[in-house]
Structure formats: structure tokens, C-alpha cells
Homo-oligomer: 265 residues x 3
């Protein structure tokens, strides 16, 4: 895990350009602020190149995609590539409809992604190992680490598959992250928020494998800490506690709370 990652985000305050869905756009802005970065949401095709040029990471999230929006994503992604700005891709609902799967493949083909983060159905469908999705939720936690590794090698990116145990790989090393809590499944947008945190961490740390693992630990640990609070009585009080815990995370808490199994293959 990356040392002092949270301190670094808080000091550098990376600007994270999101082209994202309208369901969780407010949560992604707030989680970016809570973790120490600055969010900006901009999707007009006429401005995405200029906006991303001043940013330190780009989030592409297809949760409520339109074909027009995908064009803006690709334009922004190519610009980010030309400036060595990391691109974090969240293929929300890939496999649920043809245009989501096609858009995901098109983005992966035309933009050099730094990290692809999805649930195990989305990642399974895109990596070719299969998976079942209902709407935007994985039906089960099946994973296929070999196909993740092959995909990571082919696309020169980090593959991050979230689930009860998260899997992260760069094609060689594989990490399993056990941080997390079942209450995270009771609120909308946790996957999107995790993607935003990954973007904040990759914006300040060039080792994207380590940055992604660290982000997943931070996200899961905040969920654990929130769930343990006495005032949490359901999903909404949990969500409030979760944001507060993200804000109050420290690198010291991270190193105490980390639950990661590394397997170098």
C-alpha cells in the first residue's frame, strides 16, 4: 500500500474531472472533497478537452450513458492520454445492454485506460470470463483471476473487480482486498464513489496498482468504521457516517486497518 497517500491527496488537492452519471454525480463530488481532492463535473463535448487538461485525473463512468456522452468521454480520454493524465474507467452496467457493452469496448479500444474498476459481473463480461448482471448489480461474486490478468496485460491497465473480496491486478501481481462492509450494499453509488477515490489516489501516485489497492482499502475501511457507529440505524445514517469517516481517515488508520492479501505470480 502507498505510504502517506491520504496526506499527499490533502496537500496536492488533485482536480478530478468526472464525466459521469446523473444518479451519483453529487456523491462523487462529495467523496472527492471528503478524501481531499477537488471535483469538477463537465461533459459538454466543446469543453472536455480543456477541462481535462487542467486536471490530475479523469473519471469516465457510463452509468447513465448516451451516445453523445460517450463521444465526449473518448475525446477527453484521448486528450488525457496525450498529457499523461490517468484515466479511470467505470463500465457501469456493461453486459446489461448492448450499448453499454459496446461503449465499454470502444472506450477501451480508443483510450489508454489506467484503471478499469467494475463489479465482478461487469469485469467478467468485459474480460471474457462471463458474469451475470441485473441492471447495474452483479448477481454473484464469481471471479476469474486468470482472465483479469490477461486483460490487464492486453490493455496495459490495472483491473479492479469489486465484491465481498476485491481483486486488483496489473497482469502480474494480484491483490485481494478484504476491507468492506455489507452496509455498503444498501446505498446507491458506492461503486461510483470507489472509482472517484481511485482517481484521487492515482492522481498523486504513479504506481497505479498500489494506488488502486490503497483506495479500495480506504473505501472498505471507512465502511467498516461507519457501520460500527452506534448512531447508524439504516442506510441513510450509514451513508452519512461513511462520508464522515472518509473525511476523517488518516494514513495511520489505513495502515492499522488494512486487510490485503498479496500474491505475486
Amino acid at each position: 500500500m502507498v505510504n502517506n497517500i491520504l496526506d499527499t491527496v490533502k496537500v496536492k488537492k488533485p482536480l478530478i474531472h468526472h464525466i459521469t452519471n446523473m444518479v451519483t454525480i453529487n456523491d462523487c463530488a462529495n467523496v472527492t472533497l471528503a478524501v481531499g481532492g477537488l471535483p469538477v463535473m463537465a461533459h459538454a463535448i466543446e469543453e472536455v478537452e480543456e477541462m481535462v487538461s487542467n486536471s490530475q485525473a479523469l473519471v469516465l463512468n457510463i452509468g447513465t450513458l448516451t451516445l453523445e456522452q460517450v463521444k465526449a468521454m473518448i475525446k477527453a480520454g484521448k486528450k488525457a492520454n496525450s498529457l499523461n493524465i490517468p484515466v479511470i474507467f467505470d463500465p457501469v452496467g456493461a453486459g446489461a445492454t448492448k450499448i453499454r457493452t459496446d461503449a465499454s469496448k470502444k472506450i477501451l479500444d480508443e483510450v489508454q485506460i489506467s484503471v478499469i474498476k467494475g463489479n465482478k459481473a461487469e469485469i467478467g463480461i468485459l474480460t471474457g470470463s462471463g458474469g451475470k448482471i441485473r441492471g447495474v448489480e452483479a448477481e454473484s461474486n464469481d471471479e476469474n483471476i486468470e482472465s483479469y490478468k490477461n486483460f490487464a496485460k492486453e490493455y496495459h491497465c490495472i483491473v479492479a473487480a469489486s465484491g465481498v473480496t476485491d481483486i486488483v491486478s496489473d497482469g502480474n501481481t494480484v491483490y485481494k482486498v478484504d476491507n468492506g462492509h455489507s452496509m455498503l450494499g444498501t446505498i446507491s453509488g458506492t461503486g461510483c464513489m470507489l472509482t472517484s477515490i481511485i482517481a484521487n489516489f492515482c492522481a498523486v501516485e504513479s504506481n497505479h496498482l498500489q494506488a488502486t489497492v490503497s483506495a479500495m482499502v480506504a473505501f472498505g475501511l471507512a465502511g467498516e468504521l461507519a457501520a460500527s457507529r452506534s448512531e447508524v440505524k439504516g442506510p441513510a445514517s450509514f451513508k452519512e457516517a461513511f462520508f464522515d469517516e472518509i473525511y476523517n481517515l488518516t494514513d495511520e488508520k489505513l495502515s492499522r486497518g488494512i486487510k490485503v492479501r498479496g500474491e505475486v505470480n
Copy 2:
């Protein structure tokens, strides 16, 4: 009221496809999760047929409509009809502008709606009994049960008019639901959230009259329970408590808290 409706939703986890407004889209996703269903929000015209085909109910909500979005609603609605998937329609702001009234009529004409749910101004305007709307809020609680019944018969749907007392009718039977709390009027999106809960209940219960009444009881009762909590000090703490109470509702609480007057005519 439907027995074991909440248990059934939690077991079946219906997928509820929403084509909805951008103001309350996050609330509708979260209330669907809280009540036990799975939300998916998708509005691109290229994917709505495919998405609704895998869903158990479709919500059409015109709160921030565009003409393009209405086309997607009708396309999705017709597909839902062909697959016997219930369509729940919320004509937000009907009467406030011509395009909202026209869109509502077009949807009613082209799609077989299972339930139309609006405030008493929206429902009054569409059923022809009249009503005054300011923006998206009813100016008064005037109701016209005969016109609701005629409309329900003509369109073969359930008419649900929300207000201090909610009125629900299939054209023959009329129910009056007295559950609810004035604090619900202090937050945005309660009407939209109620529509989502109706969709969750109709997704698992083919008696849509009973499902709609049950949803209105559940919604209103959660409001009552939330308002009675000592930590509620205003609309935001009320909203948090409301979501938590929706999550913690049980069929036993529903049958204890129900305030429904039935009138079979």
C-alpha cells in the same frame, strides 16, 4: 392491504427500471434499495427496450422531461406492455406547462399504464376535474373521486392521488390512506420516492390496487415513524430518518400502523 409485501420485495429483489428526472434520481435509487428492490436508471433511447425487458417494473417520471426523453419513455413503455411488465407513471408538473400536459396525455394514450400517481393538482388536471399547480406542487388538496374513478375505468389503470389523505381507485373500489406526516412536505422528491415504492410493490404483486395502497401506507408510515424520532431537528435529519425507517419497515409494522378507509362502490 397485501400480506407479506415487504418480505416478498426483499426476497424477489425486483429490478425497477426508472426513466426519471435528474432532481430526485438519487433518492429514487436509494429508496428502491431501502425497500428491498434493485434500481436501474437508463434513459438512452438505444437501450431502454433492452433494459426494461430484464426489469420487473418501469417507472416513467417527467419531472425534468425533454421531448427526447418522452420518446424513450414511450418506447420503453410499449416494450413493457408487450412483456406484461407494470408501468408506473408520475406526471410531475402536468398542468404547469403545455409540454408536461401534452407528454402526459401522449404517454397515457400510447402506453398501457398500470398506475398513475400524482398530487391532487396533477391528477385533477389529467382526469379533467381541474386543479391548480405551482411548479410541481398542488396548491390545494381538492379532490374529485368521481372523475378519478371514471379516468381509472377509461384507462384501465389505478389512479393514485397523493395529499393529506391519499385517494386510490381502480374505478370501482376507492381507498383513502391517512398515513403520512407534514414533514414529508419539507423535502424534495417525496412524490417521486412514493412512485418508486409503488413500482417495487407492483413488481411483485399482480393486484396493483392493493399494491398501490400498501405502498402508500408504507411510505406514509415511514414518515410518521421518522417524524417521531427525537434526533429529527429539521428536513435533513427527517430525510435521513425516513430512509432508515423505510429500510427497517416490516410487514408486521405495516399491519399495525395502517390507516386506510375502504369504500367499495
Copy 3:
């Protein structure tokens, strides 16, 4: 400051038509309800004239602008002008991209704005005194009161520049508002919410200079009151407390808590 402004809003319940961004649209709706007004969000170009005609103020906020949306803003703004309905403009991200700067100038040229409210970078960039913006956040709190005054005179509007100390001027009188709290910077959308409160106040008070100062006091004071609460442990619990404090504000609290320095030049 305006006497009884909160009471007046609560009694008159002004309808505030927003054409705004998708990040904070829900917050703007809720803050309008909390302060006593009625929100309506409508952006379809076919309905904005009709919607604004029944409103008491119009908010134009370019936080996630598209060129199409800017057209709707100008159409609505011109209609508002013809009916003497105040237009409150929030040039979110002006200076960050060319289309945001251009759209801001176009709106200022084609619509008679009552109040322009931005952070000190946005206002500095548009008034010509300069400023540095990162995404949608000002990089520093530099201010140039002379350029604000000149701009207010040229455009016959109130200029409101928010920061640690807010500056408000009509071109002659200058007010400095010291209410506020650093926790407001930890959540997304506070600038947008402040704009909505200004709109609510201008909707019921024709002295827009006084209405704007009063709104900034109300906004900042609610932040101070929220931050002092023992249950606030981070940005999310602060946000909840903030909304509750807005709802619970009274004119008496305002006159006790006001921190304004007036300088008539």
C-alpha cells in the same frame, strides 16, 4: 439587512425556477424548500418561458452547461426580463473553459441580470480584474472591489463575490459579509445553494442589494450554527445540520447573528 425577510419568504412561498446543473440540483431544490420557497427545475427549451412566467425568480447556473442549455437559459431570462422577474446568475466555472466564459458573457449581454453571484475567481475573471480557478473553485480569495463596482454599474446588477469575506455591491454601496464557516468548503454545492437562497430573497424583496446581503448572512449563519453542533463529525453530518439550521432560521436569529460591514462610497 431586510427586516422580516424569512417570514416574508415563508408566507409568500415564492416559486423559484432553476435552470441549473445536475451535480447540486437536488440540494438547490431542498434548500429552497428549507428557506420557505418552492423549487421547480425545468430546462426543456419548449417549456422554460411558460415555467418562468409563473415563477417569482429565475436561477441560471452553468455548472454542467451544454450549448443547448444555455439557449434555454437565455430564452427563459428574456421572458423573465419582460415580466420583471428577477434573474440570479451563477457563472460556475467561468474562466475554467472557454465555453463557460463565453456563455457567461452571452448571458450577461442578452439578459438583464439582477444579481451575479460567484466565487472570487469567477467574479474576478468576468469583471476583468483577473483570478485563478481550478475546475469550479477559486484558487485564492483575491478581490478587486473597484472592478466589482464598475461591473455592477455597467450591467445594472448586484455583484456578489463569495469567499471568506463575501463582497456585495450595486456599484455604489459595498457590503462585506463575514458570516460563514470553513466546513462549508468541505461539501459540494454550497455556492449553488447560496444562489438559490439569494433568489428566494430577491423574489420577495425588490431591494436586491439588501436581499442579497441578507441571503449571504442567512447562508453563512446557518453554517456557523451547524458547525457548532456536537453531533457534527465531518462533512455529511455538517451538511445535514446545515439544512436543518436553514430550516430553523428566524429573522430574530439573523439580526442577532449578522456580521456585515457596510461602506457607502
